[in-house]
């Protein structure tokens, strides 16, 4: 086990190194830099622009810039974000939790709902209950999340006036503790639901197929031959084995959402990582963009590791070496 962790750790370092170098060149390849954007917003002489470039180190050759960037990164110095007039790390630390809450709650909720629907579907395979669930899945699968998000806003916020339209919490709220948490829950309910729909369908379909396969296996028959209650046969013997492909999917979902929630974050005005990256691209805030890419990749690497551990916990035959 310690050897496994060590090996994974060295792999992770390599992955992160490649991410940093790759994203650095990608960002540098885009035409225009921070100074161009700043100059575009004010009257700036060529001299002023040149001195700004010197200040931000943009006059150096790209490889030197990369070297400087990486040597700072080693000390967890992500540089300064001119766009936010704050260190990149501070900006990211302020926004990272928003995305984390969004991603974690969508994964948990969509996996739970999808799995339950999948199990119900599998146990009723071929009958009207299965058919209705399958149709629901198809609709959820085929509807883009931004369409669902806009429908939610129109119905719950505009028509019913029951839900806040946008933001992470009520602006200028003084609420603390439970009241604040409830405020956040109300604000995040619609974005999380919108992020869930597609994945509920995915988990539902995978869960149904996986469950149908497991229910045919010998040990399920053994469990029935033992005279166990059907509930126990399904939820203890079959489901735990059927969960493995769903856990794999959860890993993919996390990776997809960490960066992919930008649309939903934009629609609901949430200051998350996706939005931050989006803004950083347009303002040529290289440091911020690289920081976001770094932290996002790091989250994905960590989540994948957790998924592997989860796999091992679920299936004792999986031995990590």
């Amino acid at each position: 086990m310690p050897r496994y962790v060590l090996r994974r750790l060295s792999q992770a370092v390599l992955v992160m190194l490649l991410v940093v170098i790759g994203s650095f060149f990608l960002v540098k390849m885009a035409p225009g830099d921070l100074v161009d954007v700043l100059a575009g917003n004010s009257d700036m002489t060529a001299d002023q622009m040149a001195s700004l470039r010197v200040r931000y180190g943009l006059d150096q050759p790209v490889l030197v810039q990369l070297f400087i960037y990486m040597s700072r990164l080693v000390m967890l110095d992500f540089g300064y974000s001119p766009l936010n007039a704050a260190p990149v790390l501070d900006v990211i630390m302020g926004r990272w939790p928003v995305t984390a809450i969004l991603v974690v709650s969508s994964v948990v909720i969509s996996m739970t709902v999808g799995t339950v629907l999948g199990v119900i579907s599998a146990r009723n395979a071929g009958n009207p209950i299965d058919l209705s669930i399958s149709i629901l899945m198809l609709v959820l699968y085929a509807t883009p999340s931004f369409v669902i998000a806009i429908c939610f806003i129109l119905f719950f916020s505009v028509f019913l006036g029951a839900m806040p339209i946008a933001g992470f919490a009520t602006v200028g709220t003084q609420a603390t503790g439970f009241a604040y948490a409830w405020d956040v829950v109300k604000h995040l309910a619609m974005p999380v639901a919108a992020l869930c729909t597609f994945y509920v369908a995915i988990y539902g379909r995978i869960g149904r197929a996986s469950m149908l396969e497991v229910l045919k296996l010998d040990y399920v028959r053994t469990a029935r031959a033992k005279g166990l209650p059907e509930r126990r046969v399904i939820y203890v013997h079959a489901l735990r084995n059927a969960l493995l492909p769903l856990v794999t999917m959860a890993g993919l979902q996390v990776s997809a959402l960490v960066g992919g929630a930008v649309l939903i974050e934009t629609i609901f005005g949430l200051p998350g990582m996706g939005r931050t990256a989006f803004d950083a691209v347009f303002e040529r805030d290289t440091n911020l963009l690289l920081g976001v890419l770094f932290i996002s990749s790091l989250s994905v690497v960590v989540v994948n590791f957790v998924i592997d551990l989860l796999y091992m916990a679920l299936d004792p035959r999986v031995e990590l070496a």
């Binding site: 010998d218 040990y219 053994t222 033992k226 005279g227 084995n241 679920l314 004792p316 035959r317």
Partner: protein, 328 residues
């Protein structure tokens, strides 16, 4: 032989099993298992041996059903019971051992937990007590270091050891009837002998009725008291093992016996005897005697109607108009 008690442990009467509303896969099946008796149920693949076992356990697939007849365990008609009531019998009064020990155990649960589970399903037992009892059971089926194996997952055990665990699960609640569906087919020969010995000694100790499903006539001769020969979903002959194997009455039984390898192949190099043709699938079974198309002794009346059981209710019976062998 001891005199038969009033009600046999298991009595299967005129049982038919159908696929949906289609042709019966098993028809007019009759046999009994008495307390403390080993009955060998033999026949070719696809003749309905396993289906019969699953029907007794109430574990038939959803598209199969017992369409007529009854299955009585200790006087209770199991076919009349609902799933909930039947569950109280499964793993408790009757238990089953399956053919594939490698896949019969849940891979994500420790073997101990799988034994504990059946104890707690049928007995009022605390966790600690059930664990203690489970380790005893694992010792009883002669698993070495039972207390340590208790915490192992099935994939750490060999096939023979896993089959022992399956047996421990089956005998956990002291069932009256144990059904073993080809329990040794997937194991290698030395392990086979150990498992058979184990089954036999467990049976003697607990006065179990053992229904042993197999296609190995040698195994039957070795462990069974009585033999029931099935062909194409029906019983063709039954009786005491020695009586049937030494003096088969039904041409099919005689054919099976003649088809066994004997002598030395390297020295004599003779050809194996076989039964010509193949078992008819359920939808094209003949209207007369089921074996008639393949039978060397078939006559005109064999095509007309299914032969009845001779001496129904007796120990020795055969379904044939023209039995071969010496009359009993």
């Amino acid at each position: 032989m001891t005199p038969a008690p009033a009600a046999p442990l298991l009595q299967v009467n005129d049982l038919s099993i159908r696929y949906g509303k289609g042709v019966p896969l098993v028809e007019q099946l009759n046999f009994t298992v008495r307390r403390g008796e080993t009955v060998g149920l033999v026949g070719e693949s696809g003749c309905g041996k396993s289906l019969t076992a699953l029907a007794v356990m109430g574990l038939l697939a959803e598209n199969l059903r017992t369409s007529s007849g009854s299955i009585e365990l200790e006087g209770t008609n199991l076919t009349a019971l609902g799933q909930n009531a039947l569950r109280g019998y499964r793993g408790n009064r009757m238990a089953m051992i399956f053919q594939e020990p490698l896949t019969a155990l849940n891979p994500v649960m420790t073997v101990g937990a799988q034994v504990v589970e059946v104890l707690r399903a049928h007995r009022r037992m605390g966790r600690a007590e059930a664990e203690r009892r489970a380790i005893e059971l694992l010792e009883q089926v002669r698993i070495p270091d039972a207390a340590e194996r208790f915490h192992d997952y099935p994939h750490r055990l060999s096939g023979g050891m896993r089959q022992r665990v399956v047996i421990a699960i089956a005998i956990a609640c002291n069932p009256a009837l144990l059904i073993a569906d080809e329990p040794t087919t997937a194991l290698d020969v030395t392990v086979q002998a150990q498992i058979l010995q184990l089954l036999k000694s467990l049976q003697r100790d607990a006065d179990l009725g053992l229904l042993l499903i197999t296609h190995d006539l040698g195994v039957v001769r070795q462990v069974a008291d009585r033999i029931v020969v099935m062909y194409a979903g029906s019983v063709v002959e039954e009786g005491a093992v020695d009586a049937v194997l030494d003096n088969p009455q039904h041409p099919y039984t005689a054919g099976l016996l003649a088809a066994r390898p004997h002598g030395s192949f390297s020295a004599q190099g003779h050809r194996l005897a076989d039964i010509r043709g193949a078992v008819p699938p359920p939808e094209s079974r003949p209207g007369g005697c089921l074996f008639e198309p393949r039978c060397a002794h078939a006559q005109a009346d064999c095509k007309a109607a299914r032969p009845p059981r001779s001496a129904a209710g007796q120990d020795r019976s055969v379904r044939c108009y023209h039995p071969v062998g010496k009359p009993n």
